[in-house]
């Protein structure tokens, strides 16, 4: 019977903590929803077709064949019809891939058709952006599935000197698919895409946990109050925290980055490493301020702990770490935009995979800086509300 009373007491106590209850019952639903959208379908890819010369006659056949795949969305390529210079076409196709208007572009020129007529395999050119392995492999998969159909849609060659018996003259050789990558190559692996975002993620994750818990302790223990009684300002305390955590976050980043570079055997330049450090530093500052905000919002250490999955889990699913956010409904894409790691990851990949300068990610850096200002302001307001002495 005593056990029953213990159980009653436990139930009564937990049911009075509404935040814990909500967390307990709602968090699994949120996570399951995220998992569902993350792995629900095959990746939907946007494919464009560019044809020149006699190949133009077969463009619609290609489009119709590819459209039979439900995971393919055909995109009309904004390239002028009269443009025929191969180099300009190559540049325009890569430009369209870079801005994300399309995930893969099939290019078929005059030569392809003449080769097929002449009984050769003929080469079909497939352009991909290449920095996102999930997208790249989905494009390859969609094209591979359609290759036979595509070949069948091309004209059949009948040898005029042959009777109807010599069906062998039909060109049933498989087409050659030549892949063109804007970034990466055939050797580019999932891990190459995934690892560059890990330092920012780890720094974010651990800084957030450490700052939430240590500041919560600073408050509960009464040492924060003592510091505020001494001639020390609240902002001086925060500045001290930033400097202290910066030391650890920097060390952690150095260890993680060095280890990852060894692991994936990538050669990174110093300027890439430096630019990457700026992104990691900004991420750390966001996490630190978020941690302080969480510690002020929490009434006790238990509630502070609940903020950890609340802040971390959505970012694992939505911040473009593993899964492409474009596969999620609009609602989640809006949330993803409001997550700091989304922008940190975009900048990290731009620097590490595409080897672009830091200035190329100015928008992401600006957004991260904006996060710092907003979260810091929110933290100060909550702190002042909770603790009148601040």
């Amino acid at each position: 019977m005593r056990s029953v009373w213990v159980a009653v007491r436990v139930i009564r106590e937990i049911s009075r903590d509404r935040r814990t209850l909500a967390f307990f019952f709602l968090a699994p639903l949120v996570v399951m929803t995220l998992v569902y959208y993350a792995i629900k379908d095959d990746q939907i890819v946007k494919i464009g077709v560019v044809t020149r010369g006699a190949a133009r006659f077969f463009e619609m056949d290609f489009i119709n064949t590819l459209e039979m795949d439900k995971d393919v969305r055909m995109i009309s390529m904004p390239i002028p019809d009269e443009e025929t210079d191969p180099q300009t076409l190559d540049r325009l196709i890569r430009q369209e891939l870079a801005i994300g208007g399309v995930d893969g572009v099939l290019y078929m020129g005059e030569k392809m058709i003449t080769d097929r007529f002449d009984g050769r395999e003929g080469t079909l050119h497939l352009y991909v952006e290449g920095s996102k392995p999930i997208i790249t492999s989905a494009v390859f998969g969609a094209i591979a599935d359609a290759m036979d159909e595509l070949a069948a849609s091309l004209p059949v060659v009948i040898d005029s000197s042959c009777s109807s018996l010599c069906a062998d003259s039909v060109n049933n050789k498989p087409m050659v698919l030549e892949k063109h990558y804007s970034y990466g190559s055939d050797d580019y692996r999932m891990v190459d895409f995934f690892l560059p975002v890990l330092p920012a993620f780890f720094v974010f994750f651990f800084t957030f946990i450490l700052s939430t818990i240590t500041f919560q302790r600073e408050r509960l223990r009464g040492t924060l109050e003592r510091l505020l009684v001494a001639p020390v300002g609240f902002y001086q305390v925060i500045a001290g925290y930033v400097m202290g955590f910066f030391t650890f976050a920097s060390l952690q980043s150095i260890i993680v980055v060095t280890y990852i570079l060894k692991l994936i055997q990538f050669d990174f330049t110093w300027s890439q490493t430096l630019a990457f450090s700026v992104v990691v530093l900004l991420t750390m500052l966001v996490a630190l301020n978020l941690g302080l905000l969480a510690s002020f919002l929490a009434h006790n250490e238990f509630q502070a702990l609940q903020f950890i999955p609340l802040v971390i889990l959505p970012q694992i699913f939505l911040a473009d770490i593993i899964w492409d956010i474009n596969g999620f409904p609009m609602f989640f894409r809006i949330i993803a935009w409001a997550l700091p790691l989304t922008h940190a990851n975009a900048a990290a990949r731009d620097i590490m995979i595409r080897n672009n300068p830091l200035s190329n990610s100015w928008m992401e850096l600006l957004i991260l800086a904006g996060f710092i200002v907003v979260v810091f302001t929110a933290m100060t307001l909550v702190a002042k509300k909770k603790d009148k002495s601040i």
Partner: protein, 251 residues
């Protein structure tokens, strides 16, 4: 009823009609009093009497809803001059358990902007006072509860405060340590430090030079322990407090 507001040319603390309310609840009713320096001044009252509120008003952590509070002959509470002169020891063990005794004292001394050399000399003195010289390098987590409490007092003393604010300093402390803490406080007072102490233990209040009885945010008695006992014709301070409470209820 207000405490004796008789004039003191050099006061450590002066409250003029100070009121403090929290969301409609009055934690401290209109209170006026002058606390002279160089004495151990006790605030005696049950839990919820307003002792900690008064202490936090003095530290500047909270501001009065109405009235005026000045310190050290005219300084505002919370001003950097006033804060530098205060040593505040809260009820909780507000100290860093993963630092050593000396590291904690160094940290708090630096927070008060002390010069390194002067700080080190001062730490030696304070360690003697709190009898922890031999354990100065020990991490607090490895010390006994009594030692941690003494270390806490040490961090409060390191910047030579003029006014020491102690919130229930001997709550949950064994009798031997309690005596030791009181010996230290008396010594500090003799050396010129003013001490304001909150307690709900009558035996503690008995050791003070002057005591104010607080109940439900109002002062209901003020004087030396002897004066209060005499005034209420009681055998001891405990009975005097009970009688003061009854008298207040009748009023």
């Amino acid at each position: 009823m207000n405490a004796d507001t008789g004039s003191f040319s050099e006061y450590i603390l002066k409250l003029e009609n100070v009121v403090k309310t929290f969301d409609g609840f009055t934690a401290l009713h209109q209170t006026s009093m002058i606390i002279p320096g160089r004495m151990v001044f006790g605030l005696l009252g049950p839990n919820g009497a307003g002792k900690t509120t008064l202490l936090r008003l003095i530290t500047g952590l909270i501001s009065p809803t109405a009235g005026k509070l000045t310190m050290f002959g005219g300084m505002e509470p919370g001003s950097s001059e006033a804060r530098a002169r205060i040593g505040y020891m809260p009820q909780s063990l507000a100290i860093y358990p993963n630092l050593s005794v000396e590291e904690n004292m160094l940290f708090f001394g630096r927070m008060y902007g002390m010069e390194e050399e002067a700080l080190k000399t001062r730490i030696d003195e304070v360690l003697e006072t709190i009898e922890l010289t031999g354990r100065r390098h020990d991490i607090l987590a490895n010390l006994s509860g009594g030692m941690v409490r003494r270390a806490l007092l040490g961090t409060t003393l390191v910047h030579r405060p003029k006014l020491l604010l102690l919130d229930e300093p001997t709550a949950g402390v064994d009798p031997v340590l309690r005596i030791k803490i009181w010996e230290t406080l008396r010594k500090l007072c003799d050396e010129g430090t003013s001490i304001l102490i909150t307690t709900h233990h009558i035996s503690e209040a008995d050791r003070c030079d002057r005591v104010v009885f607080l109940r439900s945010g109002s002062i209901i008695g003020d004087g030396t322990p002897e004066e209060l006992t005499r005034k209420y014709q009681a055998d001891d301070l405990e009975k005097a407090f009970v009688l003061a409470t009854r008298e207040e209820a009748v009023v």
